[in-house]
């Protein structure tokens, strides 16, 4: 019996080349005669371009060409938005090089093409752009009032208003009734600060226009979608474009986008007829890559006196930034279905207004809408518990879906297939030592200890496995949500798996090898996974939204199933038995009730040699499959944080962090652990550290890692992680998705913990990130306003 691969903590196949520096990032690419690009960017957040003088730059040594918006106006088109959330959605044109108006600081106004990166950079300073400054609107709530317009040719900053009402949708009761009859009503405003995805590898693009088919290498999460959008926008035949995502050093949603620089590099390369490379600097990455979160949530929670939630009303403002990115408009909508989280309350309404400001445009960032939703409901559950004087865990228990109630159709109309919140919570409590920490908290309060202790709780669920194509269609998203795979059987019986997912740190090469090794009974080492090149993997919808295993992995399994079906026919022929009598186990085909068998490799070779095949049998075992999920999967978990707050300085420290996640069946526990750790770090970063801050003129103040504080290992505690395993019933493996779990749950757990530590001192809320200065200011304010209510 071979050891099952699924469930083994295999070290990742990908790592050896990455950690020994033999990586192939886009910037490592050097082509003969390659030219280099540098961008001239607007220093102003909103201005008319009155003139651009490129003459000095053009005569600078090594400069081959300088492109302005006017030069490419005829061909550049507008970067598309593929998710019109309403039929009336408004969006300004989004040219890759601004033509006459810039709407955020960092927008490209010209591009230098030169023989070396240094020559290109030198010439940037020689481009003389004259601007007429226009008023800027930076604050989201102010933008919503339309007093200042982010674009002079739009008559409102409002892009779209999207509404979900459970009464109207027929998925629940009307919210008005719930609010009117509420025995307890909790009203709050939460600010989801703007975050920067801050992936490690800056974005980089190389375009080779020298053959019939143009090749683009890009540090992207979405090579397939990118090719389609480039073709549609620039009017090129799709077949003339090949897009390759080589090693990609992180994305977190920040590379789930098409960017002006991809268009510019392609246009420049075609113009000069030579390979061109553009690699952004870290500052450019922080300034002009898309940002995430940036929402204001006005929330009302209705409940009975004994703690049964009866309704939730959300007024959401979502900052689109200056333009609509490909899916920026849809990010808040992804969250809209998750505000009800693990709870079963009957009435829900969300009204989301997408609003333009003069800042970098926004898009997906790890969790994409779902962290914001989870934050709101989990903060509210704590607020309600405080209001009612109940234990926050007891309150959650009263409202969550019990395990015997699955499948459960929620107030947003989603069917949760499975889950066991009781089990995950019980395990978390046991690992945490909840009662002991509560006792210590009481002692510290009693002693008026300068360091106070708080316990933060967050449960979560999220919709993963993006996405059933018909659901995306119903939400007006332009594409489907299926995934494709091919399993190629080589003559020796070795396997090549071609996947349409596009890993950039997730370890698909390892995990897909494990899936196929089990399925076909071949050694893990004999499976090669190919991806990230539209010429190798023709069909795919790439990697984001914790979709790759639950959707792409299922396509791999389905393709492997087809291989087995084909091979059975040949094996039967080889052993002169009937197909029905062939069994396949451990990599061997055997004839039922006999000791006759033939190995997978022998069948593979027989297919290759094709000397003796059944009539009509094509001489190969290769198989394709495209999997379109019928439903989402719903991972869930319970996170507990013990937070220490130094009341003298406002410094917050995580003393203990316990999370129990239920991500369904696990293919590789080591990869899952890694995903959870990274996710926690990013969620904690939102709670305590990160915020994109602009000055009054709209310049990004946190424009380098000196000011944009990304936590590193010494800032994070030793995480206690554990899992429960309730298989998903929506796919053959029972997998759910883990990419975003840690990010979604940790932010509210941390903030709830900070508040729990200082609420008795009169602090009611602290904006994220909960910096020492803010915590201290909140404590000071509580002192002057009289403290405990």
């Amino acid at each position: 019996m071979t050891i099952a691969e699924v469930g083994r903590p295999r070290l990742r196949k990908e790592d050896a080349h990455l950690i020994t520096g033999r990586s192939r990032y886009t910037d490592n690419m050097t082509l003969p005669g390659m030219l280099h690009l540098a961008m001239v960017r607007s220093p102003f957040a909103h201005a008319k371009i009155t003139s651009i003088d490129t003459s000095a730059a053009k005569s600078s040594p090594g400069v081959v060409a300088v492109l302005t918006g006017a030069d490419v106006a005829a061909e550049q088109g507008s970067l598309p938005n593929v998710w019109p959330v309403t039929t009336e959605q408004k969006a300004p044109a989004f040219p890759s090089i601004a033509v006459d108006e810039v709407a955020f600081a960092g927008e490209v106004v010209a591009c230098i093409v030169a023989r070396s990166a240094a020559a290109a950079r030198d010439a940037v300073e020689l481009v003389d752009v004259s601007y007429d400054e226009l008023p800027v609107v930076l604050d989201l709530e102010e933008a919503f009032t339309d007093k200042v317009l982010a674009h002079s040719n739009l008559d409102s900053n409002l892009s779209a208003t999207w509404v979900f009402d459970s009464g109207e949708a027929g998925t629940g009761k009307p919210i008005a009734e719930a609010l009117a009859n509420a025995e307890v009503l909790i009203e709050r405003t939460f600010y989801q600060q703007r975050l920067i995805p801050a992936f490690m590898e800056p974005r980089s693009i190389v375009v080779d226009p020298t053959s019939e088919q143009i090749t683009m290498w890009s540090s992207t999460q979405i090579p397939h979608i990118l090719r389609l959008i480039l073709a549609l926008t620039l009017g090129l035949p799709e077949s003339k474009l090949r897009v390759i995502a080589p090693d990609v050093g992180g994305g977190f949603g920040g590379k789930l986008t098409v960017i002006p620089e991809e268009f510019i590099t392609l246009m420049a390369a075609r113009r000069v007829g030579k390979p061109c490379k553009y690699t952004e600097t870290r500052s450019e990455s922080l300034q002009s890559g898309h940002h995430g979160r940036a929402q204001v949530q006005k929330v009302k929670l209705a409940a009975t006196k004994d703690g049964i939630v009866t309704g939730l009303d959300i007024q959401l403002l979502a900052d689109m930034g200056a333009y609509l990115g490909i899916i920026g408009s849809g990010i808040p909508i992804l969250g809209a279905f998750m505000y009800n989280a693990i709870y079963k309350f009957p009435a829900y309404r969300l009204e989301c207004s997408n609003v333009f400001t003069n800042k970098a445009w926004t898009g997906a960032y790890r969790g994409a809408g779902r962290p914001e939703a989870t934050f709101a409901i989990e903060r509210l559950m704590d607020e309600l518990a405080v209001d009612l004087g109940m234990d926050p865990l007891e309150l959650r228990k009263k409202n969550w879906i019990n395990h015997e109630e699955f499948p459960f159709t929620t107030v947003t109309g989603l069917e949760y297939d499975s889950g066991n919140y009781e089990a995950a919570t019980a395990k978390a409590l046991e690992l945490f030592g909840y009662d002991e920490l509560r006792a210590e908290q009481a002692r510290r309060r009693e002693a008026n200890d300068p360091v106070q202790l708080g316990i933060g709780i967050s449960t979560f669920t999220e919709m993963c496995g993006l996405a059933p194509s018909r659901v995306l269609g119903a939400l007006s998203y332009a594409a489907g949500g299926w995934e494709h795979a091919q399993v190629r059987v080589l003559p020796t019986g070795n396997i090549e798996v071609v996947t349409g997912t596009s890993p950039h740190g997730q370890g698909h090469e390892t995990a897909w090898s494990q899936l196929v090794a089990d399925k076909l009974g071949v050694p893990f080492e004999n499976v090669e996974v190919l991806h990230g090149d539209t010429q190798i993997s023709q069909r795919g919808l790439d990697t984001y939204g914790s979709r790759s295993l639950a959707v792409g992995g299922m396509a791999v399994l389905a393709a492997a199933d087809k291989v087995i079906e084909k091979a059975k026919v040949l094996a039967a022929h080889m052993m002169e038995a009937s197909e029905e009598d062939i069994e396949f186990t451990d990599g061997k085909f055997s004839v039922k009730g006999t000791d006759q068998s033939t190995a997978f490799g022998e069948v593979a070779f027989a297919a290759f040699s094709a000397h003796n095949l059944p009539d009509g049998f094509e001489p190969n075992l290769d198989s394709d499959a495209t999997f379109d999920p019928q439903s989402f999967s719903f991972p869930h978990g319970t996170h507990l944080a013990a937070m220490e707050v130094d009341t003298e300085t406002g410094q917050v420290t995580i003393r203990k962090y316990v999370c129990v996640d239920d991500v369904g069946v696990v293919v590789n526990p080591l990869i899952v652990e890694g995903q959870v750790h990274g996710g926690l770090a990013q969620g904690i970063a939102q709670a305590l550290y990160e915020e994109a801050v602009h000055d009054d003129a709209g310049t990004l103040v946190t424009g380098s890692f000196v000011d944009y504080l990304v936590p590193s290992a010494p800032d994070l505690p030793h995480f206690t992680t554990a899992r429960t395993e309730t298989p998903s019933t929506t796919n053959q493996l029972g997998a759910k998705g883990v990419g975003e779990a840690g990010t979604i749950a940790s932010t509210p757990a941390i903030v709830n913990g900070v508040l729990d530590a200082v609420r008795h001192l009169g602090v009611k809320d602290i904006k994220m990130p909960c910096t020492p200065a803010r915590v201290w200011a909140a404590l000071e304010e509580a002192k002057t306003t009289g403290g405990v209510q």
Binding site: A117, A118, R121, D122, E125, T281, R282, S283, E648, T649, Q651, L688, Y689, V693, V701, T702, V706, D707, L709, V710, P711, S712, P714, D715, T771, P772, A773, W776, A777
Partner: protein
């Protein structure tokens, strides 16, 4: 992140370096560890026509015993300050502060002299050096001059080093037997000081006999917390007495307001951190 083009020289002696400096004119920069200069050049916030690398001048590195003081070469790295036995014995405060600078890579490249001449208000080395009353030895074509720490730091990124001069050594008096503590406050582990306090305390017979307190990032230059120092002299070795004295830490300061906190918060931090630093330095 590509700097403008520049000429480069790497002289082998201080005398040679002074000659190169004199010939190069105004638009020249000395390069020590490069941990501050190279980043600003890459961002093109500085674009010197010439860079003179001090890295090959052996006489500028190392720590020597010089009687009642230690003589520290300007090119001595942060890492060497952290691990040097003479410093550990006589001015451990310097090692404590240097240990909080950035990460191992930066500490292996960045230098004591470079950090002092760079004079970033949030930099960690100036306040301990000021608290220790060090003397700066500057070499010029006309010979050597000595500048007291109190006169060396003149403003935001500005020191007494003139064009054409090289900081060769820093003479730091010995504080053998004193208690020391560098209390640095940051939001993440690898960050410049939001506020930091450098404290040295000599305890005698149950009271504080002498105290030297330097403040980091409480003005455009490092400051001495003289009011605290005075209040501590003769104070009993109790937390309460130290807290009372530390309440003067904000006096005479002029801190900036930025993303990490406003001036009021920084003054408050200075008090809390002074209290904490002195408590540890006094061995409580």
């Amino acid at each position: 992140m590509i700097p403008s083009a520049f000429d480069y020289a790497a002289p082998a002696t201080v005398a040679e370096a002074l000659g190169v400096l004199a010939d190069a004119g105004d638009d020249v920069k000395l390069l020590a560890g490069g941990q501050s200069l190279i980043p600003v050049m890459k961002l093109r916030l500085a674009d010197p026509a010439m860079v003179v690398d001090l890295g090959r001048i052996g006489e500028l590195s190392g720590v020597r015993d010089d009687g009642d003081a230690l003589l520290i070469g300007a090119m001595t790295t942060h890492h060497e300050i952290v691990t040097d036995p003479l410093i550990a014995e006589h001015v451990p405060l310097l090692a404590m502060a240097a240990a909080t600078v950035a990460d191992p890579q930066v500490r292996h490249r960045g230098t004591f002299g470079g950090a002092l001449v760079h004079a970033d208000p949030a930099g960690d080395m100036p306040a301990p050096v000021l608290a220790a009353d060090a003397t700066f030895i500057l070499a010029g074509l006309d010979g050597e001059r000595r500048v007291a720490a109190a006169d060396f730091f003149q403003g935001y990124f500005t020191t007494a080093v003139d064009d054409g001069e090289i900081l060769t050594h820093i003479r730091v008096p010995k504080y053998t037997g004193w208690g020391a503590r560098y209390e640095k406050f940051t939001r993440v582990a690898q960050q410049w000081s939001i506020v930091a306090v450098a404290a040295m305390v000599r305890v005698e017979g149950g009271t504080i006999a002498e105290a030297r307190i330097g403040l980091t990032n409480m003005a455009s230059t490092p400051l001495r917390a003289t009011a605290v120092e005075q209040a501590l002299v003769g104070a009993p070795l109790t937390r309460e007495a130290i807290a009372t004295a530390s309440a003067h830490a904000g006096e005479g300061t002029d801190p900036a307001s930025d993303l990490n906190g406003d001036a009021a918060y920084r003054r408050h931090l200075a008090e809390v951190l002074t209290k904490r630093a002195v408590i540890v330095a006094a061995g409580l």
